[in-house]
Amino acid sequence: MAAPKTITLSVSRFDPERDEEPRLQSYDVPFHDDWVVLDALNWIKTHADGSVNYRWSCRMGICGSCGMNVNRQPKLGCSAFLRDYLPGPIVVEPLNNFPVLRDLIIDMDSFMEKLRWVKPWIIREETALSAGEHRQTPAQIEQFRQFSMCINCMLCYSACPVIPIEPSFVGPAAIALARRYDLDSRDRAGEERLRTITGNDAVWDCSFVGECSAVCPKDVDPAKAIQQTKFESTMGMLLPWGGTK
């Protein structure tokens, strides 16, 4: 029988009660071929060191909790397979561009405020439920579907080159979600939401490097949302009839 395979994880450790700076701590982890980085962290927490802290829940790439840097690349821990990093070691660190609360856990309250700021809800006169559904064809859904797939995992904020320079930049995911509602045939926000994301701290801050779309695990393509918004607001300025629906 082959000896059990092991891989070394170097995990960023930071405890605000004790540490000035984060430090790396290494763990040798026996693993199976189908294990992901999250499985390795769970093994460490259960069998080697219960004090390693990270967020996770669904382990199937949908809850968005386990964003982390794996060998300097923003990834979901639940979809970064150990076999892709052989022979190791694998360096696991918190996402960039957020304050670190503990080990791999970032403070993402800034995003929660930015999300609210773009008004990610349907804006229109309320209609009675008794009137039934608003009709929406598959083609109309297709207009915004891609932007509705965002899981708020923060990988795009970690990759974004603008955020470290302009922390108030509303950022890729929030703009994609604003666009999701702007493109929804049921929405009547018109200028109300568009003015927000074409004003200060919004789409014009983007330098269009496209890193956000490159790292997105759900193919949301926030860079496209930003470009579309820029284009639409330009048309709105140039053409009296143009721009918004």
Partner: protein
């Protein structure tokens, strides 16, 4: 007066039921103040993993009576029929409400909402957003909730106990996970919407956060847990991880094959085939495995779930997430390969005893969603009934809690400050200052999970359940001696795991005791030693109450039957 914020309505849990309750509270009374307290950010809640869809009677020829009958028959006649009748009427309105809030329901070419077939449903009535229905519903309702300044969120706040003083619930005690500081959040009413407890098992579809916290909070406060022996095993989990393969795969026409190439469902549910109810299909698969007709792999026996005949266009339009999950986690393309699947723990039918408005017997305490039992699911929940359950009964609980709060005086200061000190001391001395060299919390949890898989699975026996009943006090004793590696205050997830494990053990006590006492087979509770349903003795809800130092005290409560008299459940 208290110098800390107090609220009219406090909701524990930010998933579909909790968020629906919060918005219902604001709609009932725009002047209400709502605290939304969750141990995660709301969009991480396990609703996010729901895939297949939400059942509701949208149009002819479907009828309320048909949905009600399917639900009652699916429940093996343990559902309270008055509750089911209200549910089927409210569910379509809730689906429309979500639509008005922007949920991207899949549509027909004419723009109307699509429906798909689902297990145990006699007609097509399951509304869906491709195969990420829960994800879209959760993000839609969470984003919608952001427009209400009345809803104040406490994200990543772990609740450790209810404030039950002067005979009513007056808020919660817990800690902000960032600081670790124990504090109270007083409120005139509390809604528990904390979800399920699937993580009590090793092989489960549930996310790591599903640890039965709300059930344990209510149980410790003296409220009964109802029908806790009824645990749903979903037929189609990924053999390695337990990741859910949605029932919509079969709804859209997928076949289940055993290793002999047979669609074995014909032996068990000939009229429904793959669209039989989950309890029956899971038993059919287990029976086939025992007869040697399963495939064998590194994770034990499995069957093939095959959608190749549907073609890539249908798969990519209706089941894109399944294709993504197959490629990512199994290295298969479901367009070209059958999907290996085996039964997996999925859903808790039982929960906090609550009435049709979500009211528990404790004044001021409400419950909704998977953590509750309003008498709706009985002994087996039908697939796609739980998402609308969260909406219908989440909204009902939010309304009722708001109306109740309007009649109440604010919580009083004196007892609360003392309770916070007691809770802070309990956590510190039990976990953070203990120096004995016991097991790690994670190891004890794994032992619980494996023992539950072994003894409280698809089929149960007296011996297995007795073994589990004997094991639980030992696990609790080990937790009492557990050694935490992490003694810090800031974001100590090992401490959270320890407190969650307390909740899981409380739930497991009621599950095992309730299963032992029910000497019959009904719905998801299948006893090898009592294979028949026994309406004479057990057409009744099990109520489990905590007793100090022993197993729970059990009582039975009659089922409310209005329209459908119990008869043999064959499909």
């Amino acid at each position: 007066m208290l110098d800390i914020p107090t609220y009219d309505v406090l909701i524990v849990g930010g998933g579909l039921a909790g968020l629906r309750a919060a918005i219902a509270a604001v709609s009932t009374d725009p002047t209400v103040s709502v605290a939304m307290v969750s141990k995660v950010y709301p969009m991480r809640s396990h609703t996010v993993s729901a895939e297949g869809g939400a059942a509701a009677v949208l149009r002819e020829p479907d009828s309320f009576e048909s949905h009600a009958f399917d639900t009652v028959k699916g429940s093996d006649y343990l559902a309270d029929q008055d509750v089911v009748e209200v549910f089927v009427r409210e569910a379509p309105l809730e689906i429309l409400q979500l639509e008005h809030w922007g949920c991207p329901w899949s549509r027909e070419p004419d723009g109307t909402i699509s429906v798909r077939p689902f297990g145990g449903m006699t007609t097509w009535r399951t509304v869906f957003a491709a195969d990420k229905s829960g994800f879209h519903m959760l993000h839609t309702i969470f984003q919608t909730s952001l427009q209400y300044p009345q809803i104040h969120r406490y994200d990543e706040f772990f609740v450790t106990s209810l404030i039950a003083e002067e005979g009513r619930c007056q808020g919660v005690i817990g800690f902000d996970m960032r600081s670790g500081a124990v504090q109270s959040i007083p409120a005139k009413s509390v809604v528990l919407a904390t979800g399920g407890n699937g993580r009590i098992f090793a092989f489960t579809t549930n996310g790591s956060i599903c640890t039965g916290d709300g059930m344990a909070l209510a149980y410790r406060a003296g409220v009964g847990l109802k029908d806790m022996e009824f645990i749903q095993f979903h037929p189609t989990g990924m053999p390695s991880t337990g990741i859910l393969i949605t029932e919509a795969v079969r709804g859209e026409g997928g076949y289940l094959f055993n290793a002999e190439g047979e669609r074995f469902c014909s032996r068990y549910v000939p009229s429904k085939m793959e669209l039989g109810p989950r309890d029956i299909i899971s038993r059919a698969m287990t029976t086939e495995f025992e007869a040697g007709r399963g495939f064998t792999g590194p994770y034990g026996n499995y069957m093939h779930l095959d959608v190749r005949h549907l073609g890539q266009e249908v798969i990519d339009r209706k089941l894109p997430f399944m294709r993504e999950l197959g490629l990512e986690y199994m290295g298969i393309d479901i367009v070209k390969d059958p999907i290996p699947v085996r039964p997996v723990e999925h859903y808790m039918m039982g929960g906090v005893d609550a009435d049709i408005n979500g009211a528990t017997p404790m004044p001021g305490l409400y419950a909704a969603g998977e953590c509750s039992n309003v008498g709706f699911n009985g002994a087996n929940r039908l697939g796609s009934n739980s998402l609308p359950e969260c909406l219908v009964f989440g909204a009902a609980a939010g309304r009722a809690a708001t109306r109740y709060a309007r009649e109440q005086t604010p919580p009083t200061a004196n007892p609360i400050a003392g309770l916070v000190r007691d809770e802070e001391r309990r956590i510190r001395t039990n976990y953070l200052e203990r120096s004995a060299g016991g097991d790690r919390v994670g190891v004890i949890r794994e032992d619980l999970q494996r023992a539950m898989d072994r003894n409280v699975g698809v089929f149960r026996t007296e011996e297995g359940l007795q073994e589990m009943a004997a094991e639980l006090p030992k696990l609790r004793e080990r937790l009492n001696r557990a050694q935490l590696d992490d003694r810090s205050q800031a974001f100590n997830t090992e401490l959270v795991q320890a407190l969650e494990l307390e909740c899981m053990l409380d739930c497991a006590d009621t599950m095992v005791a309730s299963a032992l006492a029910r000497q019959e087979s009904r719905g998801a509770h299948a006893r090898r030693d009592f294979p028949e349903r026994d309406d004479e003795r057990y057409l009744a809800h099990t109520m489990a109450y905590q007793q100090p130092g022993g197993p729970p005290r059990l009582e039975y409560r009659p089922v409310r039957i209005t329209t459908f008299q119990p008869k043999a459940r064959t499909y």
